[in-house]
Amino acid sequence: MAENIESNPFVDVSVFLFFEDISDKQGVEGFTNYMVGQAESLAKSVPEEEYETWDDFAKAVASGESVFSSFESIEQISKYGFVTNICPFSKAIREYIKRIGNFNPVHVEATDHYNHTIQPSAAHSACMMHQTYRKEVAKRIKIDGKPLQYAQIGAKAYTGDIALPPESWKKVLLEKAGISETQGFMEMRENSCLYLLYVEERSSR
């Protein structure tokens, strides 16, 4: 596993403020667009990866050797179900609250905007960046020649609120992950993020 280098919270907090300044000038839509846009750019900068088998990929992700787990510690809970125990933004969020106080309401507004216009999966504004990054990074990983697919199931905010997809999506996603709804809730009690990583099975003709 690569060396774990801790960021300086001073920098983390200033990035949140940078986004707040963007929202002052360009509104919540500008905030959301920049958050999503920069995550896409960041993901496009990471090196591509190829794995021969699903197990090779799952092992690399869980050991922190894949670009997918560059910024978070990931655990595999079923063949396609994965969890992140500690949100990689939690330290930055705690430091913001410690140093500055309550989060600027624009973060909730931007999260709502994302949930209504892109997909209903963000529990905090940082989820927009994180989930976009994961979605784009997945496109750079191939397993047995097929691109990795990513779908968010649950995300928990520092307030304890959990963002879940609509019932009809949730059922399909949990089924694909091979876990029940109760198991999903149990995972969300222990972890900050639950999601699906998979490759499309070859269709038999």
């Binding site: 280098i5 001073f10 940078f18 900068s45």
Partner: protein, 208 residues
């Protein structure tokens, strides 16, 4: 992960708002960050320096500083008007190392934004983040009083990841400290600044 966003965000913003636009954003971020830290008051320089050493002031949220009490700044009457401080590690250094290790080389937009600031405002940035960091310290210092006197922060020198050094000669002259002395401090620090009583200088004149 939030810190890593800086480079892709700056890259994106340069393409939309230009380097000058990014400099303006960073300056405003530094100001709002410092303004939201609140005000502080110390009875005298010893109390302030202990707080700096223990990391209790808004000026030390960026990291640990060496308080160079041997470098007291004296005005023409022999009164202490401030001290020199050295930030041990640049707050951006871990992010740079993480970015290089996980993503790749630092994008050119980092230098482009720093150059825009250096050419138009003050030649003191070794990376784009110096813009907000230095602004933060300047505004944060304005929110602190020592013995009921308002303070100001003077950027003196800093060192980039590749070893390039930026000095601010007008500020060195104002506190009457030799450039070679500051260079020797930079051997074990990444950023050197002075905190002095607002408007004072080591010379004959009081600066407005």
């Amino acid at each position: 992960m939030m810190d890593i966003a800086i480079y892709s965000l700056v890259d994106d913003m340069v393409s939309k708002a230009g380097t000058e636009g990014v400099v303006e954003y960073w300056l405003r971020v530094g100001e709002s960050y410092a303004e939201r830290m609140g005000k502080e008051a110390y009875v005298g320089w010893p109390a302030f320096n202990v707080a700096m050493k223990e990391g209790r002031t808004s000026l030390t949220v960026e990291g640990e500083v060496n308080v160079l009490t041997d470098l007291a700044i004296i005005d023409k009457d022999g009164d202490v008007i401030g001290y020199v401080y050295a930030l041990k590690t640049c707050p951006m250094a871990p992010t740079m190392r993480r970015y290089i290790s996980r993503i790749g080389p630092i994008p050119d937009s980092d230098t482009d934004v720093a150059d825009s600031y250096n050419n138009r405002i003050r030649d003191s940035a070794v990376s784009n983040y110096c813009i907000t960091h230095q602004r933060f310290r300047e505004i944060a210092a304005n929110n602190v009083t020592v013995a009921k006197q308002a303070l100001e922060c003077l950027q003196l020198a800093n060192k980039g990841m590749t070893g390039d050094v930026k000095m601010v000669p007008e500020n060195l002259a104002r506190i009457n400290v030799d450039e070679r002395h500051i260079k020797s401090i930079l051997r074990s620090a990444s950023c050197v600044f002075a905190i002095i009583v607002k408007g004072k200088s080591a010379g004959e004149e009081v600066v407005d």
